[in-house]
Symmetry: C2
Subunit: 391 residues, 2 copies
Amino acid sequence: MFGRHCARILKARYCSTPWSSSGHCWVPRDISAAICKMLLPHVLSCILFLCKVPLDPLLLVADEYAVLADRLQRTIVAELPKLAPNAELFFKMLVKERRFQPSVLLLMEKAMDVPTPTQASRHCADVSPIRIFSGQQCIPEIAEMSNIYNFVRHNMLDDADTRYQASFLNLFLGTKLSVLVGDFLLSKILVILASTKNSEVQSILSKVVEHLVMGEAMEITSSSEQLCSIAHYLEMVYYKKASLLANSCKAIAILAGKDEEITIMASNYGRYLGYAYHLMDDILDIAGISASSGNLSSDIASRMFGAPMLFAIEEFPELRRVVDCRFKNPSELEFGLECLRKSGGMQRTRELATKYAGLALEAIETFPRTNNNKDAEVSRQVLVELARKII
Amino acid sequence: MFGRHCARILKARYCSTPWSSSGHCWVPRDISAAICKMLLPHVLSCILFLCKVPLDPLLLVADEYAVLADRLQRTIVAELPKLAPNAELFFKMLVKERRFQPSVLLLMEKAMDVPTPTQASRHCADVSPIRIFSGQQCIPEIAEMSNIYNFVRHNMLDDADTRYQASFLNLFLGTKLSVLVGDFLLSKILVILASTKNSEVQSILSKVVEHLVMGEAMEITSSSEQLCSIAHYLEMVYYKKASLLANSCKAIAILAGKDEEITIMASNYGRYLGYAYHLMDDILDIAGISASSGNLSSDIASRMFGAPMLFAIEEFPELRRVVDCRFKNPSELEFGLECLRKSGGMQRTRELATKYAGLALEAIETFPRTNNNKDAEVSRQVLVELARKII
């Protein structure tokens, strides 16, 4: 797999020019790609490890993710044909939200070092690797659906009952389709979960969906006091983001037949990486707003409402007033950003993200190494790299 | 159980006057109730069977239903506290929608003649009746949740993007809570299903939820042509109503360990009773509108859009125009009702409901009789009575 991964990088870097049609071609593109695939992976494997070339860690599972995303997209459009005219735009909007969590789960699956059918039949007669694989494979799919559900609902509920312009998503989907896409995804998760035929995994993953809904409910049922508390915010982050990664990693470990210790490590890795990723996302969100033209929408108000702002409120209690009103005009937005700049909100958020990333790193570094399965080892390394990147 | 049922009827008929406080009391109310419970059930059992006294068939499971409904109500309010101020009104609005399906399932459970723990241990060592009972009991609960989900979503989607005044439900719940109550119920169904630990039942009941969502999707994604076709309407009725009863009855039979023949009968009974009940409901809906003041709302437009109107369109194609516009003013509503009166729409709907009720009756009458378990036999009789009442 790592070989294929390197081949993909090489191909992307050196084979993107259509030599075959440029007239300067000395090796046809197909043949050069074949050479990359056959000869270079092992050389590159060493070079990359030695030189620590910075890579997009998720590239390793880019193909698997593309297949999964495409299949899901086609299913949704086939069963909700009204989405078809805007489907491409809709799914493009989701790309950032969608890719991270399912890709981490695809990597976790590979890192589990589940024996291939031949190995399994050699070592243990009663294990059915085909069933294990199909069971595991459904988990990134459920994560992908949960992500889309989360995104659609968050946008819809954020727009409803506010005085802002509706988000782009709601404008082109409309209330009915927004509601139905969410319901459709929840019902499909139910069907997929029923097909796993593993009651422990079903129980764990049903919690994920319950948490997603509880997270949304917390946002609209919490008091103003609660909404300005960082502890309460982190609880919401757990329900809406970290629980998905934590419980899905746990389910993957269980389906791979791992012992309790590894299952707990996998779950901890997911939980802490989920927190760290979300907190870093909060920082990037604020940076995005600072650079924007101050054009107010429910989306901007929602992005302002992250960990940096909550830390800033602890230093500037007067921020509470504008936060409570959800930055209803550009001057309040400017005031909020000014306080944020003066405060240690960004720094404290970064420190918290680093702390969580450290805990994720600790969990994944204690994963047993596998010398026999290069795919598993490379995936483990990429999971380590993911946590390091955040630090 | 039939004894308790008769006691309940006696109590309702003869003990509702507070004799103990009227001064004309010759037996205190508690004692009279106790006598009813202890002495009269068997006498009444004979009298009722001989005289065919008309009863509310659902009364037999009224206590069980009340416990189930109350438990669910408290759970929803506890986890969505914003609903609390309007909870009583909200659940009152649902009473008509809610009671029928879970009560039928409670009766079906009883009719299954599952051995009590003592009987089981005597006859079959490997059956765990406690697990069977707890598994079966979750099914009416899931049906209750599905009903509430269906009701909340239908109201919400019916209001959205229409020019009518919002329904009362949406007015006091608001979009956010309407959406969240639905999501909350779907997530709880997922958790309950995961706890059944029976993959066949999970697979069957996950289909119910999938069908509910597909039914809603059909309503908003179908063409005008499709929406005016009775065949398409019956397909929607299956997804939104009949599937719930059909698949839940099937799941109850499976959990009770019944053979394939009885499982199919139970499923057929649920399916055809579901159709028949919904069609009769369509007739009652139209009757309700005829007597109303013609005050237009999305609710009235939705109630006009049933089987009688679709049959009427076959006779009066000019009705298509007002149906397409969803009766946007009182004169169109009057025109619609006038055409309906002249047409055979109501009669044809009644005939179709009778046909379905006949099929349900056929299914339940071929159920094996149980002489050893009076509760089961009485429940079966009540299920027969339910189908007969529709005819």
